[in-house]
Amino acid sequence: MAKNGVFSRLRRLDRAEGVDDFSTCNDSHEVHVLAVDDSLVDRKVIERLLKITSCKVTAVDSGRRALQFLGLDEEEKSVGFDGLKVDLIITDYCMPGMTGYELLKKIKGSSTFREIPVVIMSSENILTRIDRCLEEGAEDFIVKPVKLSDVKRLKSCMFGGNRIQKQDKGLNKRKLQDNSGVPLSPTLDDDDDVSSSPSPPSISSPSLPRSFSSLPSSPSSPTPPDSPTRLLKTSDEEE
């Protein structure tokens, strides 16, 4: 199900492309992401982050709607959405009704959709939660607020031509970094850098990647992927 398209350049998508725009896209290499978050603010942000990294985005406000969109909802069949293959699902963890974890389980429990990578976002960095999600088959777990570097890394890890299947859980767990002071990408015109963290020297010091992943670590990751311990660090990367 995953596409190994070539994404060599950021494109600024047309502003007119709305959240629920289901018009068919001619570019067959464009990654289609289904974003699920009950917060409108977060939907707007994640949608923009994904569009800036040249993804097609469908944003929905609940797990239920996500399942409907995929056609997995038992009660309602989604009509007319064939041909809009979903390449990635990125979902908030804490949602009323169906949590992101429950959505993850439903997707991984479906023979049709289990191959779609699912990424969980959460504003809480609770290790048991992270573990649970990774064990259930989540590709990655991102601590909010989501940044452009997170999305770029996700995209290039998953669709940069080296699509890695879901790895053995427990490997490649990374340390968690406090949310303070992550420097921003210098420009939006970055090419397919695996990681767009802008200041490698500061990253190699105490500050650490902000996600837990069964994906291989990016080159600029400071920690060995199989580091056995996880520590909460509170260092700032940059003043």
Binding site: D42, K44, V45, R48, C94, S123, P145
Partner: protein, 149 residues
């Protein structure tokens, strides 16, 4: 379009706000103000809910802090997404008070939250006004912006 953190807002917003500014460009020229307006709208609703939650907690025998926790989580989440650091931090303290069933703590936290939110709103409005003036002064470099940030 990288900008230093506006000193007007320093302290109440953090680098995540800068990240939002970086997501704004010609194809999405009002991105920041749109997101912030959504945030204001949602926040005001959440604050109303939290005021009610506090009333329930104070008045009733059975104190249900669960709803409060849910509202606080939502407020924390959206605040951190736009970089409203101080508002978010007050929510964290507020949530701790609610988890301890600390009524007085919740009321104090609510008051502080209202203050910080109000402060943030004013500062962001100031920031947008400064931005508008900068845009007008820059003249041809920027496309026409609608009047209302």
């Amino acid at each position: 379009m990288k900008r230093a953190l506006c000193p007007v807002c320093s302290g109440s917003i953090d680098e995540q706000f800068l990240q939002l500014q970086q997501l704004q460009d010609e194809s999405s020229p009002n991105f920041v103000s749109e997101v912030v307006n959504i945030y204001f709208h949602e926040s005001e609703k959440l604050l109303r809910n939290l005021r009610e939650d506090c009333l329930v907690v104070v008045d009733k025998e059975f104190s249900d802090y669960k709803k409060m926790g849910i509202h606080l989580n939502q407020f924390m989440g959206s605040s951190s997404s736009i970089g409203a650091q101080r508002v978010r931090n007050v929510c964290v303290a507020f949530r701790a008070a609610s988890e301890q069933n600390n009524r007085a703590g919740c009321l104090r936290a609510l008051e502080l939250l209202e203050y910080e939110y109000c402060y943030l709103k004013n500062k962001l409005h100031e920031l947008f006004q400064i931005e508008q003036q900068r845009i007008l002064a820059a003249g041809v470099r920027y496309p026409q912006q609608p009047n209302n940030p």
